[in-house]
């Protein structure tokens, strides 16, 4: 029902991702040590009258994209907090904007959260002050991407898994493995479509977890140099099979539907558009995915409005509306009472489904999987390695 809205929104997101943002100056932070930002004690009082939101496209809608999608106007009416939204296109852009300051809350994916936490750009969140936190799916709470040392840093918003899609005419009726994207004898050779971002290195790592257990990869975002090199080597081999790398949703929709891309990584929201001859599944090796978290800027002058927003966006009705609009699984259990079909489509409550979904995370030098005997390859190296691979 929301297909056109979604396409519109995706187009907006695509364009935003393409637009070059101004280069801000760097902050002097970045010690990499444990953050020491104090948590707000409460209580949440009257709003300051203003709230500056940094959001993914479709996460903070005020009815201007579509009159039906509006959860900002009622928020403003209820709280008196006037909202100002800026949309960003990539996690990297979000981090840059937060470093520049001036924003109160941000919807951060797992590959941005830790950078924000360790960069002292955000503050811990006192979940006692947000009643709706209690109804969040347990497997979304206190994850490695949204907490540090048992301290929560935000309010989960929604999640999704990166799916394997294939063209049945080329690959066959059924498929269950990323092998069609990685193995040289794949029937999809010449039509493989990986996601064009450094974070896709983790997808290779997920495949290696299954195919080369000797490497000992436990977390695709915690790769030591050996593991990382193996993933890059796999990706270099994959390059021969690739037809196109995609980062623009429109490009994938078009390439998949007209049959030039025959085996690819994709998202549920895109799969909804595909014709009968396109199969989709979560591959047996597991998958990367995203889990987004609303976080509060460290120096926000609008702390009350910020807490009110976190609680608002996680409330069952609003959470359902916002995640349905975007096309992902909601974070609030009660959201599924409102639209059970959405929760079935996006596997919201299926704990087992999410067990081998590795949410996007920020690789750091300190291994996220707890290893202390080795250094892991940090994200900036991932980024460079990806550029080199693509060159």
């Amino acid at each position: 029902m929301q297909k056109t809205q979604l396409l519109k929104m995706l187009a907006v997101g695509g364009a935003a991702a393409l637009a070059l943002a101004a280069c801000g100056g760097g902050s002097d932070s970045g010690s990499g040590g444990a953050p020491d930002v104090p948590m707000y004690e409460g209580p949440v009082g009257d709003g300051e009258g203003q709230l500056n939101i940094l959001a993914w496209p479709g996460y903070a809608e005020d009815g201007s994209t579509d009159p039906a999608a509006d959860w900002i106007t009622p928020f403003e009416e209820q709280t008196g907090c006037q909202v100002n939204v800026k949309v960003f296109g990539t996690s990297d852009e979000a981090v840059k904007l937060m470093q520049g300051g001036g924003w109160d809350v941000v919807s951060a994916s797992g590959d941005a959260t830790l950078r924000l936490i360790y960069g002292s750009n955000v503050q811990p969140v006192n979940t006692d002050l947000t009643p709706n936190y209690a109804d969040i799916f347990p497997d979304l709470k206190m994850q490695s991407h949204n907490s540090v040392n048992g301290v929560a840093y935000g309010m989960p918003h929604g999640r999704g898994a990166n799916l394997l899609v294939w063209n049945k005419d080329v690959v066959g009726e059924t498929a269950d493995s990323w092998s069609i994207m990685f193995e040289p004898d794949s029937p999809a050779a010449g039509g493989v479509g990986p996601y064009d971002s450094p974070i896709y290195i983790a997808d290779a790592a997920v495949y290696l977890m299954a195919t080369q257990p000797d490497l000992g990869i436990k977390d695709p975002y915690s790769l030591d140099q050996t593991q990382f090199d193996a993933a890059i080597a796999l990706l270099k081999e994959q390059k021969a099979l690739v037809s196109e790398y995609w980062s623009d949703y429109n490009k994938q929709i078009e390439a998949i539907t007209n049959g030039t891309m025959t085996g690819a990584t994709s998202w549920q929201v895109l799969v909804n558009y595909y014709p009968e001859n396109i199969g989709s599944t979560k591959a047996k090796e597991g998958a990367t995915g995203w889990s987004d978290t609303w976080m509060i800027a460290k120096d926000t002058p609008n702390i009350n409005c910020s807490y009110k927003w976190l609680d608002w966006i996680a409330s069952p009705a609003i959470n359902q509306q916002a995640t349905a609009w975007f096309g992902e699984a909601p974070s609030n259990v009660k959201a599924c009472d409102i639209d059970p079909q959405q929760c079935t489509d996006y596997h919201a409550g299926e704990t087992a489904y999410w067990e081998n979904v590795y949410y996007w995370n920020t690789p750091t030098e300190v291994c996220l999987d707890g290893r202390t005997d080795v250094k892991c390859v940090p994200y900036s190296e991932w980024s460079k390695a990806w550029s080199e691979l693509r060159s």
Binding site: L18, C23, S27, D248, T364, K384
Partner: protein, 291 residues
């Protein structure tokens, strides 16, 4: 006559201090040029010598040549540089080959009252969104069921598909007006009497074209090529959409500017240097003086 020579010139401040007046006149644009334009270039260049915190991507201001060393010692990056340069040169040449006859027709063959219409037609694509145009070319270039492939298949040919050729075709389409317009202006400026004189001295059409027309519109051609060359050199969106697996210089910058601004800056200085080198070559040829 001593009195006249000794008497000071009359007039206001500006008259007495022509330099001061000039300075006042140029102050605003010069400030803009120096601070905003050159300043940002300098900042870019300076940033290229810094490094980043590997975790937060925050800039760490310690001086290093590492970024440049990495750019120039990584074979893959050198390959991308060469590829980008090749694409930019190819686009410029194709634009040139297409623009000269088109501009000649517009300026010298078409009736004068059609000229504004023809110029408008050349300009029309510039009003359309860049993305729309590139996506249109994606539809044209799509292998097997794209428009070009469809037309080529009866002849047993495939379309160019996505890749270098697709990029060159698309960029040529995008930047062609920037070549046609200056060349057209060059043809318009060309006095008729030059062509008459050449014919008068015994030269037939082709000879006149080679010995008079081309040398006289050369500065316009150079102006156009500066546009097509530098626009192609810096483009990255076209490669994303119709490049298939192929990327250009700009894509590397775009992929890294947030996570590793210094590295991206080092990479971004390359096209700037290439364009400066191009301008230097052009300057030597003397074409800029007549621009």
């Amino acid at each position: 006559m001593a009195a006249t020579t000794a008497s000071p010139p009359k007039g206001g401040f500006g008259y007495r201090h022509p330099r001061a007046r000039l300075a006042a006149l140029l102050a605003a644009p010069m400030t803009w040029l120096v601070v905003v334009y050159l300043g940002s270039l300098a900042a870019l260049f300076l940033t290229a010598f810094w490094t980043v915190d590997g975790f937060t991507s925050a800039i760490v201001r310690t001086f290093t040549f590492d970024n440049f060393i990495e750019v120039f010692t990584t074979p893959a990056y050198l390959q991308t540089m060469l590829r980008t340069l090749g694409i930019a040169i190819a686009v410029t040449i194709v634009c040139l080959v297409l623009a000269i006859p088109v501009a000649y027709f517009m300026a010298r063959v078409a009736r004068p009252r059609w000229q504004p219409l023809l110029v408008a037609m050349i300009l029309t694509p510039l009003w359309a969104s860049y993305l729309v145009k590139v996506y249109a070319w994606r539809a044209m270039l799509t292998p097997e069921n794209g428009v070009i492939a469809w037309f080529a298949s009866p002849f047993g040919l495939g379309g160019p598909g996505f890749g270098e050729v697709g990029i060159i075709i698309t960029l040529t389409y995008l930047w062609l007006p920037y070549m046609i317009l200056p060349v057209y202006a060059g043809f318009i400026r060309l006095p008729n009497s030059m062509l008459d004189a050449s014919a008068d001295l015994g030269a037939k059409g082709w000879r006149t074209f080679r010995s008079v027309i081309i040398p006289m519109i050369f500065p316009s051609v150079v102006a156009g090529s500066i546009f097509t060359f530098s626009l192609s050199l810096g483009d990255y969106i076209t490669a994303q959409i119709v490049g298939g697996k192929v990327i250009m210089l700009g894509n590397v910058v775009q992929q890294n500017y947030v996570t590793n601004l210094p590295f991206a800056a080092a990479f971004a200085t390359i096209p700037v240097v290439i364009v400066l080198m191009y301008l230097a070559i052009v300057r030597r040829s003397g074409a800029l003086e007549n621009l």
